[in-house]
């Protein structure tokens, strides 16, 4: 396992020394902070509006969890979706491009270990980004009487959805020799999964159910509302395992001739 650790550390080191990844982290943090403060600003406006009402009905009182936290994690998911392809693009395509894939294949690492190390390093990097981006909603716990449950489940929801997004990104990287092509392919694939949500919402019947079942945005809804559902959990874990297996199979098949 020490070879896996070396490969993970190497990938993380590459993130550390490549300026473009600092840009990604900073961009995600800035965009998410912008979204957060916008949502918070509009929540404040709603509160002022509500307080100015001559008759107040508590059922319609602005809800910090719904107005800010849930909407924030929803938007964060989209931001992560946009950036994931650029984080995962180097995983395999970068190794092929630099010729280092042949060195990895001649090392003590098995194909499974190479794929595992690639997933671990991307997940660690994503986790770092998510932690940074979640500081703002979590800080509300200390400054307001917000419900903690939806904040935690929202974070978990975005985390597992990001895991499956990264799986798709890594799979695209394993299928391509060109980093840029890998990023564009996975961006299209992820965007496709994302927009499936729109027709799914307005569609009934079998097709509607199928679209809902494969829509990450639909599946993550419960998490953002503070409910940890068994079905969404199974969906995201299955999607992650499926992309992992496909990456492994594809890598195994392809690396016969690097």
């Amino acid at each position: 396992m020490s070879s896996v650790k070396s490969l993970v550390l190497k990938d993380l080191f590459s993130y550390k020394v490549t300026p473009v990844y600092y840009f990604f982290v900073a961009a995600i943090f800035c965009i998410s902070a912008f979204i957060f403060f916008n949502l918070f600003g509009s929540f404040n406006a709603q509160v002022v509006e509500y307080l100015n009402l001559p008759v107040r009905d508590s059922r319609y009182a602005p809800n910090l969890n719904y107005s800010v936290v849930s909407s924030y994690f929803n938007a964060l998911l989209f931001v992560i979706l946009l950036f994931t392809p650029f984080i995962t693009m180097k995983s395999f395509a970068g190794e092929k491009n630099s010729g280092m894939l042949s060195m990895l294949l001649l090392s003590k690492l098995s194909n499974f270990q190479i794929v595992l190390a690639k997933f671990i390093s991307v997940l660690i990097f994503l986790l770092l980004i998510l932690f940074l981006s979640s500081i703002l909603p979590f800080s509300l716990i200390f400054f307001s009487d917000i419900e903690i449950g939806p904040v935690v489940t929202g974070f978990v929801g975005v985390l597992i959805a990001s895991m499956s997004f990264s799986g798709i990104g890594i799979l695209c990287s394993a299928c391509s020799k060109n980093e840029f092509f890998a990023a564009i392919t996975s961006l299209f694939a992820l965007f496709f999964f994302y927009i499936i949500h729109a027709p799914a919402e307005n569609m009934d019947g079998a097709l509607g159910s199928v679209l809902k079942a494969v829509s990450p945005l639909w599946q993550v809804k419960d998490f953002l509302r503070g409910v940890v559902g068994f079905a969404p959990l199974v969906f995201f874990i299955s999607l992650f395992l499926l992309t992992f297996s496909l990456t492994f199979v594809f890598f195994q098949k392809r690396n016969c001739d690097v």
Partner: protein, 237 residues
């Protein structure tokens, strides 16, 4: 000992290697000579286990190419034509990483890296980024990584390209030393650089071995010819 029996690897009808058979004694150096597209790189790639042959068999130090892939990878050192590297890594970092994934213990690895870099006169550049290295220096780093795990079989694809006279001289000196414990197969266009080290020379053309010479015979031919193309013409006569 490297033993190759009827290895074929086809990319298209007339590209690849076809029914290659040859033997290279233990602790000896053989040259694979031939023009571009002769199949030298494909041959080395197949022997390095990176490319699966379509047919045929091969063994190195008694280990079968198809059935002992993992064990073979431990005893093979391979330098591809284009030196693999991470541009954001320094020479020391890349060698340390490659040693790590080869399973060399950290303390031992540090010692080996220092020793190899010293031998190749790269110690003072160990903290230089790979992206800032000249072609010759990068080539030298490629050779360093290939011998880091003390391989028993060394496969070198155009190792002389990009090396200046001093680097080449140094490399030949190290090859001469390695030859005592390692079987070495070098693919090259230019026989002159390595001919006086060679125990055997194999001429390739169109994916096939068209002739073989002993090292001594090759050296005699070299004295009357200036370059490899002259040599390969001799082989075709």
């Amino acid at each position: 000992m490297i033993s190759v029996n009827g290895i074929s690897k086809k990319y298209s009808k007339d590209s690849g290697i076809f029914d290659l058979s040859f033997e290279i004694e233990s602790n000896s150096l053989a040259l694979l000579l031939g023009p571009n597209g002769a199949g030298k790189s494909t041959c080395l790639k197949v022997l390095s286990t990176l490319s699966k042959p379509d047919s045929g068999a091969a063994s190195m130090n008694g280990l079968d190419l198809l059935n002992n892939k993992n064990k073979l990878q431990e005893i093979i050192g391979y330098v591809p034509e284009l030196i693999p590297h991470y541009s954001e890594f320094t020479i020391y970092e890349i060698l340390s990483f490659l040693g790590d994934i080869r399973g060399i213990e950290k303390k031992e690895l540090d010692l080996r890296i220092k020793k190899i870099l010293q031998e190749f006169d790269l110690l003072k550049f160990q903290h230089k980024l790979c992206s800032d290295l000249s072609k010759g220096m990068l080539q030298t780093v490629g050779i360093c990584q290939a011998i880091l795990h003390k391989p028993k079989v060394l496969l070198l694809d155009e190792p002389g390209s990009g090396l200046d006279a001093t680097q080449l001289q140094n490399f030949i000196r190290i090859l001469n030393k390695l030859k005592k414990t390692t079987s070495i197969l070098i693919s090259t266009h230019y026989a002159s650089s390595f001919a006086f080290l060679a125990d055997r020379v194999l001429f390739m053309k169109g994916g096939r071995i068209v002739d073989t010479l002993s090292g001594a015979d090759c050296r005699k031919s070299i004295s009357s010819l200036d370059n490899l193309y002259g040599l390969s013409e001799v082989a075709n006569i």
